[in-house]
């Protein structure tokens, strides 16, 4: 696992959840960062495992990845940013699958609509119920243009735009979860 000078992944890495748990992004080994919060990151991976197993169990088979602060060698990591790319065949059954997950959960946690967003104190903005409960900020993507332009003006989708650093537009890597 290679990081650039700013702590971002230098390239994509393919990992299983077990491999992610044992990786420097959780243990901090080899990162030479003081006060690394391995305990917090372990908790986040446990919650991510629950989320991944949940979406897989109802039939979502699309790519799942992790980006954001969790996928970087940085100290502050409040949550874990993940994404699921829907496959075209998921579109027709999307609602039913979320309903099934909510039924299991016993509450409306699997709701990614604007109406379900929950305001967070401070500068937390709004978050999904899933993010509030499990600290996993799962974004569900349909392959639509995300509004972000590439370095040459090209129209990016997610996760393409996740591979671009916000300020410099330089490339960065993601964690691609392997089943």
């Amino acid at each position: 696992m290679k990081f650039d000078d700013d702590g971002f992944l230098a390239e994509d890495v393919n990992l299983s959840l077990d491999e992610l748990s044992a990786s420097p992004l959780v243990t901090g080994e080899g990162l030479a960062i003081r006060r690394w919060n391995a305990e917090r990151r372990e908790l986040l991976v446990r919650n991510l495992r629950y989320v991944v197993e949940s979406v897989r169990s109802v039939g979502f088979a699309g790519e799942i990845g992790v980006d954001g602060s969790f996928a970087a060698a940085v100290l502050v990591c409040r949550d874990i940013d993940a994404y699921l790319v829907l496959k075209p065949e998921d579109f027709a059954v999307y609602d039913e699958r979320l309903s099934e997950l909510n039924a299991r959960e016993g509450e409306n946690v699997w709701d990614f609509s604007e109406e379900a967003m929950i305001p967070m104190p401070g500068v937390g903005g709004v978050v999904t119920p899933l993010r509030k409960k499990y600290s996993v900020d799962l974004r569900i993507e349909t392959g639509a243009f995300c509004g972000i332009l590439g370095p040459h003006g090209e129209r990016l989708t997610y996760p393409q735009a996740f591979r671009q650093r916000t300020q410099s537009k330089a490339a960065k890597g993601l964690i691609l979860l392997r089943d």
Partner: protein, 216 residues
Amino acid sequence: MLKSKREYDETIQALHILRTETLPAEERRLQSQGLGAQKVQNLLGLTRAHIRRLEIEAETYRRITDGDLSMFDGTEDFGRLLIAARLAVHLSQRELAARLGVHESQISRDERNEYAGITVERWRQICNALGVDIVTRARLEQAVSRSVVPADEIREAAASQAAVPRQPTFSSAPAVLRKKLQPALEFVEQFVPFASQGTGPTAPTGPTGSLIIMAA
């Protein structure tokens, strides 16, 4: 949190594109797959939620650069408050770095880490460089409840007098408690002159202490 004018401008651009291009195109694409109207709307809701998040980020940036830092409260937001203070005084990372005599990449790294682990001395240097005062204010009832009185002594005092009210004022607390709390109150008042104007001490079973931080 948006950390520069450039990020803000890109967010505004993204919002425009999402509203005018992405939503209509996505609606056509989903309809072309034979999905019912409700299913199309539910899937479009994913894009609408994304738009809402960006709108709030942009609005927060505008508030901060207009000098409104009232959304920050507590130590969890401390690092972001320093970032916001830089935005509020309209300094770039490069300009702040120059004032501090460090390389721009150092500020970029510090802000990415939200100043985690910053020392008080460093905090003062940054505040001086920004020309802002960061005011800290302890909540008296929390600070006192954490500091001094063992729970069994409170129970003892409560048993010997009237029941301790749920939100007692300092003057209405039992004499035993007042005696125990007085040194702590004086200690807090040394640093926080207005502390005694609070609602008074509460039982130590309440929430842990808190610190309000604001820029002035």
